[in-house]
């Protein structure tokens, strides 16, 4: 294999694919990136056996061929080469090493045979549709923080994507929960998504997808089955296994009859929560909200260090209520809100609370209170 291309293009593609490669690997080939030169392209591919990232970049192919080299080391080399340089990649005649030459720099990297490189991307994908990158981005951004890290309930370690029929027509919905909080957001269902199976996309894949969605106006091609998903964005194709499990019946925990409505300026509230929670200990992150007409008092008491209170003006005219929440969870949610006003719908100190963005009716958050 002999190929020459611009360092900038190579680096951009490598940046996308090398991230998939785990830093520590017991199987040597999984540390490597696959390079395949043919026609006028260089293909780069990396996998961790769950995710597979493939990117195609234009290159001058003098001799077609394929090989694999250590991904992180290759990435570091290309990263350190000067901007605008030309990089030439050539395999040695005995097939033992890849020579990387750029300007006066010359590297030789040991290779592993291309035939050992695992391929997970094969398989039938039953559904196929397109959606704007900004829509997919929104689905991920609004829900990602609620993904659980718990091993036992592995089926919570991702975002659940599925379609639902609502009064406003069919919707494509993302839901994530860790048992303490739940985030749900909808977009209008893209054409072709109807009838798709509900899928749980693992956390690592979610993170990779998010990084690929750089251009909001780009179209994303989504192909999926009940076991795999493939996304094509520009020159990148990301294939991932899905979590094989059943997402809980989340609809049952979304409160319907919470009658106490509270409206509060998002920024005021978030800052107050952040300030009073300075006092809280690592273990108990509870902040107590004391609601009376037009007023909310936030209190944190830490038996080991002291206490803090702050008063915030709110729009509230229901019966007085004391309720506690995890301060970090409150901040996670408020940071997702796009508009200035947060709406809380509360029932009692022991029941789930609904939080919404005044400017975004497609998204809702449910937060479990803490005993205070």
């Amino acid at each position: 294999m002999r190929v020459t291309l611009e360092r900038t293009h190579l680096l951009k593609s490598l940046t996308h694919v090398h991230r998939v490669v785990e830093r520590r690997n017991t199987i040597p080939i999984l540390s490597n990136v696959l390079l395949r030169a043919s026609g006028g392209d260089l293909q780069l591919k990396a996998t961790d056996l769950d995710i597979d990232a493939l990117e195609t970049v234009a290159a001058v192919v003098e001799a077609p061929g394929a090989t694999t080299v250590p991904a992180h080391m290759f990435y570091d080399i290309v990263r350190k080469l000067p901007d605008g340089a030309q990089v030439s990649l050539e395999t040695t005649a005995d097939g033992s090493a890849l020579t990387i030459v750029s300007g006066r720099s010359r590297f030789s990297l040991q290779m592993l045979p291309e035939t050992d490189f695992p391929d997970i991307s094969a398989g039938e994908l039953s559904h196929r549709f397109k959606m704007p990158a900004k829509d997919l981005r929104k689905l991920i951004d609004r829900t990602q923080f609620a993904i659980s890290t718990e091993e036992i309930r592995y089926y919570l370690n991702g975002i659940y994507f599925h379609t639902v029929d609502t009064a406003e027509g069919p919707k494509f919905r993302a839901v994530a929960t860790d048992g303490h909080r739940l985030a749900q957001t909808d977009i209008a269902a893209p054409e072709g998504s109807k009838g798709m199976p509900g899928i749980i996309v693992p956390r690592k894949t979610v993170g990779e997808i998010q990084k690929l969605l750089e251009e909001p106006e780009e179209e994303v091609l989504v192909e999926l089955s009940d076991a795999k998903i493939r996304l094509s964005v520009g020159a990148v194709v990301l294939t991932s296994k899905l979590i094989d499990g059943t997402f809980p019946d989340y609809g049952r925990v979304i409160p319907q009859g919470n009658d106490k409505e509270l409206r509060v300026e998002k920024a005021d509230f978030a800052e107050a929560v952040d300030r009073v929670s300075t006092i809280s200990s690592e273990r108990g992150r509870a902040v107590k909200l004391t609601l009376t007409e037009g007023k909310m008092v936030l209190t944190v008491v830490n038996p080991d260090s002291g206490s803090a209170t702050e008063e915030v003006h709110v729009d509230y005219d229901s019966d007085p209520l004391d309720i506690g929440f995890n301060a970090r969870y409150l901040l996670d949610i408020t940071s997702q809100l796009g508009s200035d006003m947060a709406i809380f719908r509360l029932a009692d100190p022991g029941s789930p609370t609904l939080i919404q963005d005044a400017g975004d009716t497609d998204t809702l958050y449910v937060l479990m209170p803490m005993r205070v």
């Binding site: 718990e150 036992i152 309930r153 809980p248 925990v253």
Partner: protein
């Protein structure tokens, strides 16, 4: 080895005569049948002179005499062969027979009485070995509830002496009696002697008392004169006493440290006394500093009541080795219920669940998992144990299974609502209802299907 304690005493009948108290010597109050007789002889050096071997007040030979007796206030009280003693109390026919308390044919010796000890039985010994050493022993299955009850009773009696009681286990505790002399109108030594007497009379078991000026030495002292002992280590003789003891006597010096020290030629505490703290610290780090202090009998730890429970667990050894999930699950479920009941009764919850298995060849496997929320529910505990157990049933035969819970928190932090498990609240309510039924009608009144029929009927009370 008997320590070179100042003073003498022998073991025989308690002082029964009531006599006047000579003001200068403050002899023990015999009307309270204090045992042993405590005399304070401030300026009398050890050993006691011949002719003074008996109590000058009542003639009892059980006399404790020590120059610092009036000044020492830290005590360690340890019950003698606790479980076995309780069983003997409840069944007088066992009095002169070797008694072993422990689980079944396959279990280990939990406690054995002193008769059994003479025959070589030791606690933690496998039952078959114990029975080899002592074939005529009466083996009694432990009755934890009863022992806990007695333990509590004794704890109450300790708390009547001083609020500073630090329990170490069900049957031993440190007591700090400093400053209680005026309240009791007696020195700590006398108060403890009376206490030992009272436990014998009211509870029906014997205790051993160690009295010193810190916890380290008090604990050592209580072991010196067991059973039914009362030993004292004063400031004056502590260094000489310690010098002759092996380093393993120091708390925290286990097998590993002992080997390390032995590698450097250090076997006796006396050798440590000759080294300076800096050298020890340099050589053994934090342990070295501790060694330097403890070797000279210095221990600044206070008797503290705040000692917190770190874990709750239950385990059982099977009569025959078990291997299948079907056999192990009901037992695991029952243990989970037991642990859960303890968590509930103490008003706590736990976040880390640990499964312990002992294979046929005595290898121990532990598997643990941290829950996303603390819990005190048997249901959640068992779900986790179940998940941990499944991969271990690979055909290996096990002789023991245990269930434990650690990372304990207050009950109010346990079991918050769970958005990912809409059925959790209902299962919690069902468990609460089961608990209420059991409270009223006994443990076997209601069972989960898994356990149903496998629980043995409650043992009839002995005696």
């Amino acid at each position: 080895m008997r320590p070179p304690l100042a003073g003498t005493r022998t073991r025989s009948g308690a002082c029964r005569r009531a006599l006047d108290v000579r003001p200068t010597q403050r002899i023990a109050d015999h009307r309270l049948r204090t045992w042993p007789s405590v005399r304070l002889l401030p300026r009398l050096p050890a050993p006691a002179r011949a002719g003074e071997r008996r109590c000058t007040a009542c003639g009892s030979p059980r006399v404790l005499r020590h120059a610092e007796l009036g000044a020492l206030t830290i005590a360690h009280v340890d019950c003698d062969a606790f479980f076995a003693a309780i069983e003997k109390r409840d069944d007088p026919s066992l009095r002169d027979r070797p008694v072993i308390v422990g689980g079944g044919r396959r279990g280990v010796v939990s406690t054995c009485c002193y008769i059994a000890r003479i025959r070589g039985v030791r606690s933690a010994m496998p039952m078959f070995k114990a029975l080899e050493a002592c074939p005529d022993a009466v083996v009694i299955k432990p009755n934890g509830t009863k022992y806990a009850e007695v333990g509590r009773q004794i704890r109450e009696m300790m708390l009547a002496l001083t609020p500073l009681v630090e329990p170490l286990s069900i049957d031993e505790a440190f007591l700090d009696l400093a400053g209680t002399e005026r309240l009791h109108r007696a020195s700590a030594a006398e108060v403890l002697a009376r206490f030992a007497r009272r436990v014998e009379a009211e509870v029906g078991i014997t205790v051993s008392v160690g009295l010193s000026y810190n916890k380290f030495l008090a604990k050592i002292a209580s072991d010196l004169d067991k059973p039914r002992g009362f030993a004292v280590i004063g400031r004056a003789e502590a260094p000489t006493f310690l010098a002759r003891q092996p380093v393993s006597l120091i708390w925290g010096v286990g097998k590993a440290s002992q080997e390390k020290l032995a590698g450097d030629g250090i076997r006796l505490i006396g050798q440590l006394q000759e080294m300076d703290a800096v050298t020890l610290a340099r050589r053994y780090g934090a342990m070295g500093l501790r060694l330097a202090k403890l070797a000279h009998g210095e221990d600044a730890r206070r008797v503290s009541t705040a000692g917190k429970r770190k874990s709750v667990s239950a385990e059982t050894t099977f009569d025959e080795d078990l291997a299948t999930l079907a056999d192990l699950r009901p037992i695991a479920r029952r243990l989970a219920e037991k642990v859960s009941a303890q968590l509930k009764s103490h008003g706590i919850g736990g976040q880390t669940v640990t499964l312990k298995l002992k294979t046929r060849d005595f290898r121990i496997r532990t598997r643990s998992r941290r829950l996303h929320d603390p819990t005190q529910l048997a249901d959640r505990l068992f779900q986790t144990i179940d998940a941990l157990l499944a991969p271990e049933t690979d055909g290996t035969r096990y002789r023991l299974i245990g269930v434990g819970m650690s990372d304990l928190v207050e009950a109010k932090e346990a079991d918050p609502g769970d958005l990912a498990d809409p059925g959790a609240a209902r299962r919690a309510a069902a468990e609460k209802a089961m608990d209420a039924v059991r409270q009223k009608f006994g443990k076997a009144a209601v069972e989960t299907g898994l356990v149903f029929g496998s629980r043995k009927p409650d043992r009839p009370p002995r005696g």
